[in-house]
Structure formats: structure tokens, C-alpha cells
């Protein structure tokens, strides 16, 4: 994955993408037991974009570097990279809060566990909720930080539904700090 990250860093230096951070299953693997994935989800901001986001200049540059579109993303050095322009305030805050975490010697960032889980809760697909339960069960979430994010981004209702459905309404234990 080092080469993939080097390409992303080149994109960031070129200014075609702004600050970026890894999310999805690859970021989750930093915190919990890994699960198979074909995608590398990359949250980013597109400089100068307003409501209409145009990824074509990025794709054109990647094509010039020899990388082709594949599925919903671009195949870069063995990974299907999905560039996800931050779709809302939660994702923008998650990007700002992303952690610098070099992969081997390649600088990169990943979303914090708390923001990653808040995004999983917001997205709400079955696989996201399973992964959220995995974070809770492996005890890697900071409760105060996580609940603060849920409150700030109006996700407490979804949290209560999740607790009701997956934990019979009994809020799971997780570390408080």
C-alpha cells in the first residue's frame, strides 16, 4: 500500500486534492482486527469545489500517471481507491481531526476511531454497524469523545436505535477518558 499512498501524497502536493485521510476498512484495521476489503476509502476536500464536485481533473492526472478507473474508483498500485469528497460537516470535522500515521515510512493520515465510528453510525449499512460493534467490543473507543461527536452532529437518535437493536437497549461498556 506504500506506493498507493505515495500517489495520494503526490495528488495532495499537486493541489488537485486537499487534505486527505484514510477511512473505511483500512483505517478500521488500525484499531481492530482486520477484515477483507478491496477498496481504499479516501476522504478528502476538493479545492475550490462548491456544490458541484468535479473529480475529472484528478482522474485525468491519475490517468496520465498510468492509473485507470475501476469500479467506483481508480486502481492505484493494487488498490481500488475511492476518493470521497467530504459530503457533510461530520466528514469535514473528521478530516480536520485525522491522525498523522505513517505507513512504514510513507506519511499519511487516518480518521480517528471516534469519527470513524460516527461515520459508520451515520452511514448505517449492515457492514458498518457490525464494524461499529467490533470497535465497541474491542474497547478502542473513547466514550466521552465519541458521545460528544454524536451530540454535535445530531446522531444520538441513531445511537439509541443502534443500542436498542444490537444491545437490547443496554448501553455497552467502553472506556471513559
Amino acid at each position: 500500500m506504500e506506493k498507493t499512498l505515495e500517489v495520494l501524497n503526490r495528488l495532495e502536493v499537486s493541489g488537485l486534492i486537499g487534505r486527505y485521510a484514510i477511512g473505511g476498512a483500512v483505517a478500521a484495521a488500525y484499531y481492530v482486527e482486520p477484515t477483507v476489503t478491496y477498496d481504499l476509502d479516501v476522504f478528502t476536500v476538493i479545492p475550490g469545489a462548491s456544490h458541484l464536485i468535479d473529480l475529472s481533473p484528478i482522474y485525468a492526472q491519475l490517468k496520465a500517471w498510468g492509473y485507470q478507473e475501476q469500479g467506483a474508483g481508480v486502481e492505484i498500485e493494487g488498490w481500488e481507491v475511492q476518493l470521497l469528497p467530504a459530503p457533510g460537516l461530520l466528514e469535514e470535522a473528521a478530516l480536520e481531526d485525522a491522525i498523522e500515521k505513517p505507513f512504514h515510512d510513507v506519511p499519511t493520515r487516518i480518521l480517528s476511531a471516534e469519527y470513524l465510528c460516527a461515520i459508520m453510525l451515520k452511514t448505517g449499512r449492515p457492514k458498518d454497524l457490525i464494524r461499529l460493534a467490533q470497535f465497541l467490543e474491542e474497547g478502542v473507543l473513547n466514550k466521552r469523545g465519541f458521545m460528544g461527536i454524536l451530540d454535535r452532529f445530531s446522531l444520538l437518535g441513531k445511537w439509541n436505535q443502534f443500542v436498542l437493536r444490537h444491545y437490547d437497549g443496554q448501553e455497552p461498556d467502553f472506556p471513559i477518558s
Binding site: M1, A29, E33, P34, V36, T37, Y38, G71, H104
Partner: protein, 55 residues
Amino acid sequence: MKVTFEHRLDEKKVARQARSAQTWEQKVCLIERMKEQLGSWKKPSKSSIASKSQA
């Protein structure tokens, strides 16, 4: 993709390694290995899903 007994053994081995992997780099390496194992299975593209649903 035909799943053989050897595949199952390999999956169990990878699962054991996944539990013992400590660093992010080790875990990503395992994900890459899992991808290789499942190499012949490809996630369907959106266009192929659309054409199937229209069929």
C-alpha cells in the same frame, strides 16, 4: 470460485494471523494477502449490476 479444503485451511491460518497481527502495517499486509486469495472473485461493477437488474 471453487472453495477447496486447502482454501479453508488457508482461511483459518489467515484468520489466526489476523488475530495476532499487532501493527497496522501487519494488518494491511494480511488484507492484501486476503485480497490475493480471493483474487478470482471480483466485486461486481455498478454497470453490471444495472444490466442484470434490467435483464
